[in-house]
């Protein structure tokens, strides 16, 4: 039964349906509404969980790590500076192969301080060894949140569900929540085989010498590689149960034979889907929405780009001094391939700048006109810059 819910409230309800044992969080905009909603559910007795209001994001991440290691399903959420403060623990959680779920309410990273949306924060955690899933809308956010627990627990990897701050977290949408029965059928009770247990007292987090480190890294890397299939299957099973897909690895919209394609990540994919319907570009264009960024779905990307000649990668973060992050990876994905598309790369919508629907048409036109440099910030207004900064 669809209902109108704010994104944060919807995510909170989805988390509650997954019956987490421990939740830890520390307030940061724009993640706060999620935690506040969870707190209310706990206060009202609708959610039986240990809600730990920690003294920093660093501790929040540590708390969920310990809880999951002790055998409880654990969840946390953060944003921006909070993600960066957690960074040491994020690597640690993944390296220890401890399954848990975190929502990243995507926000720009200071300085300059900005509370508004882009994806620099989760991109900074790209190499931490987590599964990263990006949501187009709040329905996907709800569905992905439930799927994330299953993916985490099947792969023994942590999963970061990325939801654009404000754009999704603070926006009311009509969406359908799964029922408790559906979730219970989909998500078996949490059992962590390596849990800290006096009955079987393991030591976790040991010192690994050079003799063994590479093998351990490989094992982690390979586990992430295998996780792509788990992500796909989780979505397929969810679709069977609810008739809804949350986007698989990559979603493809529009003309499947179009020579132009725009690859997006996160909620921009929603804006551009609307644009495709309401103000389509002058050239035939397909829209590719990258949902699973880690593991990077190489095969699915190749498949989705079959027949594409011009591929425009649109992202919400950058690696200063280098350029686009996803764009670089996509270029690498096609490097040396016969008939590979020309890859254009732009960042846009940084620090919360609005991305209007018309952007899609302008992007395709610019690519067609060969006006796009290898990388640029597309919605930049260079005239605002002093000459020496342009």
């Amino acid at each position: 039964m669809p209902q109108a819910l704010e994104g944060s409230a919807a995510v909170a309800r989805a988390v509650a349906l997954c019956r987490p044992g421990v939740i830890a969080a520390y307030p940061i905009t724009p993640q706060t509404h999620i935690v506040e909603n969870i707190s209310r559910l706990v206060a009202d007795g609708e959610l039986d969980t240990e809600l730990v209001s920690v003294e920093s994001e660093f501790s929040a991440a540590s708390v969920v790590l310990g809880a999951a290691a002790a055998g409880s399903r654990a969840y946390t959420a953060s944003s921006s500076q909070g993600i960066l403060l957690m960074m040491e623990v994020l690597y640690n959680i993944a390296g220890l192969r401890v399954p848990l779920v975190m929502t990243c309410a995507n926000r720009a990273v200071g300085a300059p301080i900005s509370i508004w949306n882009d994806q620099q924060d989760s991109m900074a955690a790209r190499d931490a060894g987590w599964v990263q899933l990006y949501c187009v809308d709040n329905q996907q956010a709800v569905d992905t949140t439930v799927q994330a627990f299953r993916i985490a627990e099947q792969t023994e990897l942590p999963v970061m569900v990325c939801i654009d701050g404000f754009t999704l977290t603070h926006t009311m949408e009509m969406l359908a929540l799964p029922t408790q029965a559906q979730v219970d059928r989909y998500l078996p009770p949490f059992r962590f085989a390596r849990a800290l247990d006096p009955a079987s007292p393991r030591s976790l987090g040991m010192l690994v010498t050079p003799e063994w480190f590479s093998e351990l890294r490989h094992a982690h890397h390979a586990a992430l590689g295998r996780a792509a299939e788990v992500v796909e299957r989780a979505d397929r099973d969810w679709h069977k149960l609810t008739r809804r897909s949350a986007g698989g690895l990559i979603e493809s919209f529009g003309d499947p034979d179009a020579p132009y394609a725009v690859l997006t990540i996160g909620s921009v994919g929603g804006t551009f889907a609307a644009a495709l319907a309401e103000c389509p570009p002058a050239s035939p264009t397909r829209l590719l929405r990258l949902r699973c960024y880690r593991p990077f779905p190489l095969a699915a990307l190749h498949e989705a780009c079959r027949g594409v000649r011009e591929l425009i990668v649109v992202e919400r973060a950058l690696s200063p001094g280098q350029g686009g992050i996803i764009g670089t990876e996509v270029r690498a994905a096609f490097a040396g391939m016969r008939g590979a598309p020309r890859v254009h790369n732009v960042a846009l919508g940084l620090g919360g700048r609005d991305v209007p629907m018309e952007t899609l048409g302008r992007l395709v036109a610019a690519a067609r006109a060969r006006r796009l440099p290898p990388f640029s910030i597309f919605d930049l207004q260079p005239e605002r810059l002093p000459a020496e900064e342009r």
């Binding site: 401890v98 023994e156 390596r194 007292p201 393991r202 030591s203 987090g205 040991m206 063994w212 351990l216």
Partner: protein
């Protein structure tokens, strides 16, 4: 092939695969060093060993451990000067353990309960016979230890009863005759053949004995007083202290005198001095070339009197003149009216030997009407012939063997030792070991143990505790018969034994077990081969030495790791 675990988790306790013992260059080990009390005991007792049993409340086991060395604890507990107490490490901390009181308690307990001497089995048929001359402490001891070795001792004693000096020269106030008789009787009853009224040189000769016995042990004692004079003068009617003491013990009488000078610094001198005082002498002076115990006096220069006897003598009013000798006897006619004293000291001479030197100008006069010489005794040469040296004693090696005669051994006062009962007991034990070894064609096996000093103890783990001492009769109540020092009760004995540092032995205090950072000291249910309840796991011990430094009793020593 070892395989990775997910996230590199580890199995519990898997570090046991890592043998950190290879780091070690020093290895801890249990080392049962000799406690000072043991090293000091002429009889060879190991008091800290039997004190442990006392502390556990097992008096019988304590006594059995004790009599493995000394069969006469009820006697030595009373008469021995207890050099063990003087060397006791606890003496450097608060007060030495009162070992004599506990020894006496155990001896008395055995008399009362009739415990069997352990380790005595009837000698096998045809076992070698060993003749023992003299049934004093040395003779009784050698006979007892010969029995323990499965040999047959045959004892010949000139007097009508066994006991030697114990009977003839030690006052009843120190050694009640009931105790003496009871303990001697119990030892003799172990299987010692005793022939009394058999005097060497009168009733039998050495050659006769040698013909019938596999070995001989001579313990005739010192029956003859050393010749005494003052500058060539011997006042008429002079009787030496030993002689006076004997007749006092036999008939209860001593010569009447107002002012008595006893010349000598041994127990006989003190005993006769106290008898004279009790029998009406107004003043009794004890003049000795030795010094009083104390830091000013070298250990080999202290007068040879049991410390508590010295103390009691002083209480009773005996005046001691240390570091002095008689330089003249003042006579009026044949009657003594006084003596002249002169100060002297034991000094090192040009040739390196120490000798007593009198100091001119220190002469002083003491009024006196009786002088009792007590400067020591020597062997009666009857039947011994050339065996008696110019010194007046027999000469033996460390095992009691008489030089030049492989079947001849000797011990006790006759060998000129320090003249204590314990020393005589020790002589007997060592000689019995040597005789048994020789007869078995083996080397005597007495492994010397290094003595442990107080620096090897960790005193942090002990607390000062008051010593428990037996009550002593007040001076006014002392007579010729009543034992002056009383007995301790079982509670006091347990308490006093509990003060023992157990030097060089295991207290079972758990320190090594509690303090090992490497869990390489294991506490075991059984007793380890060294008698402790702990073993070192050398697979893991890194040799830090913490256990050794925190062992209260110095039972753990660090030694270089064997190659």
């Amino acid at each position: 092939m070892k395989q990775l675990t997910r996230g590199a988790w580890g199995e519990p306790g898997s570090s046991l695969a890592c043998h950190t013992g290879s780091w070690r260059d020093l290895r801890p080990g249990h080392e049962h060093a000799a406690a000072p009390c043991h090293a000091a005991c002429p009889a060879g007792e190991d008091p800290q060993y039997w004190l442990a049993a006392v502390q556990e409340g097992d008096h019988r086991r304590a006594w059995e451990r004790l009599v493995a060395a000394n069969p006469l604890p009820a006697i030595t507990g009373r008469v021995c000067p207890h050099p063990c107490e003087q060397r006791c490490n606890r003496g450097h901390y608060d007060t030495a353990i009162g070992i004599h009181g506990i020894e006496r308690f155990l001896g008395d307990a055995a008399l009362a309960a009739g415990w069997d001497y352990p380790g005595i089995v009837g000698p096998p048929a045809g076992a070698p016979r060993v003749a023992v001359v003299g049934a004093g402490p040395a003779g009784i001891s050698v006979a007892y230890h010969l029995l323990r070795h499965g040999l047959v001792p045959v004892v010949f004693e000139a007097a009508p009863e066994a006991g030697g000096l114990l009977r003839s020269a030690i006052p009843m106030t120190r050694l009640p005759r009931a105790v003496l008789d009871a303990e001697l009787e119990r030892v003799l009853a172990c299987g010692i053949g005793l022939h009394t009224r058999q005097a060497l040189g009168r009733d039998f000769s050495l050659d006769e004995l040698r013909a019938e016995h596999a070995a001989l042990f001579l313990a005739p004692g010192c029956a003859r007083s050393r010749p005494w004079d003052v500058q060539g003068v011997i006042p008429a009617g002079t009787r030496d202290g030993l002689d006076l003491l004997k007749s006092w013990i036999d008939v209860g009488e001593v010569p009447a005198a107002r002012r008595v000078v006893v010349h000598g610094g041994g127990n006989t001198a003190m005993d006769i001095a106290r008898v004279m005082k009790r029998h009406g002498a107004e003043e009794v002076h004890l003049v000795t070339a030795s010094g009083l115990p104390g830091p000013q006096t070298a250990p080999d220069d202290v007068l040879n009197i049991v410390p508590r006897e010295l103390e009691e003598g002083l209480e009773e009013g005996i005046v001691i003149h240390p570091h002095a000798t008689l330089s003249r006897v003042l006579l009026r006619g044949a009657r003594i009216v006084g003596v002249e004293l002169v100060a002297l000291r034991k000094l090192e001479r040009a040739d390196g030997r120490r000798a007593r030197v009198a100091f001119e100008g220190t002469e002083r006069i003491l009024q006196a009407d009786l002088v009792i010489p007590c400067i020591g005794e020597q062997v009666d040469p009857a039947g011994l012939g050339a065996l008696v040296q110019r010194s007046g004693f027999l000469r033996v090696d460390a095992r009691g063997g008489v030089a030049g005669a492989c079947d001849l051994y000797a011990g006790g006062d006759a060998c000129g030792n320090i003249g204590t009962v314990a020393a005589a007991v020790g002589d007997g034990r060592r000689a019995a070991n040597a005789i048994a070894a020789r007869l078995a064609g083996a080397e005597p096996s007495e492994r010397p143990r290094t003595e442990i000093g107080i620096e090897r103890l960790n005193l942090n783990y002990f607390e000062p505790r008051p010593a428990r001492r037996a009550a002593v009769l007040p001076v006014a109540e002392r007579d010729d018969l009543c034992e002056i020092e009383g007995s301790l009760d079982a509670a006091a004995v347990a308490d006093e034994a509990g003060r023992c540092f157990a030097c060089g032995n295991c207290l079972a205090c758990d320190n090594c077990w509690v303090l090992c950072p490497d869990a390489a000291v294991l506490k075991i249910a059984d007793t380890a081969s060294d008698g402790s309840r702990y073993v070192f796991d050398y697979d893991y011990c890194k040799g830090c030495g913490l256990c050794a430094s925190e062992c209260p009793s110095g039972f753990i020593a660090m030694r270089p790791e064997p190659e």
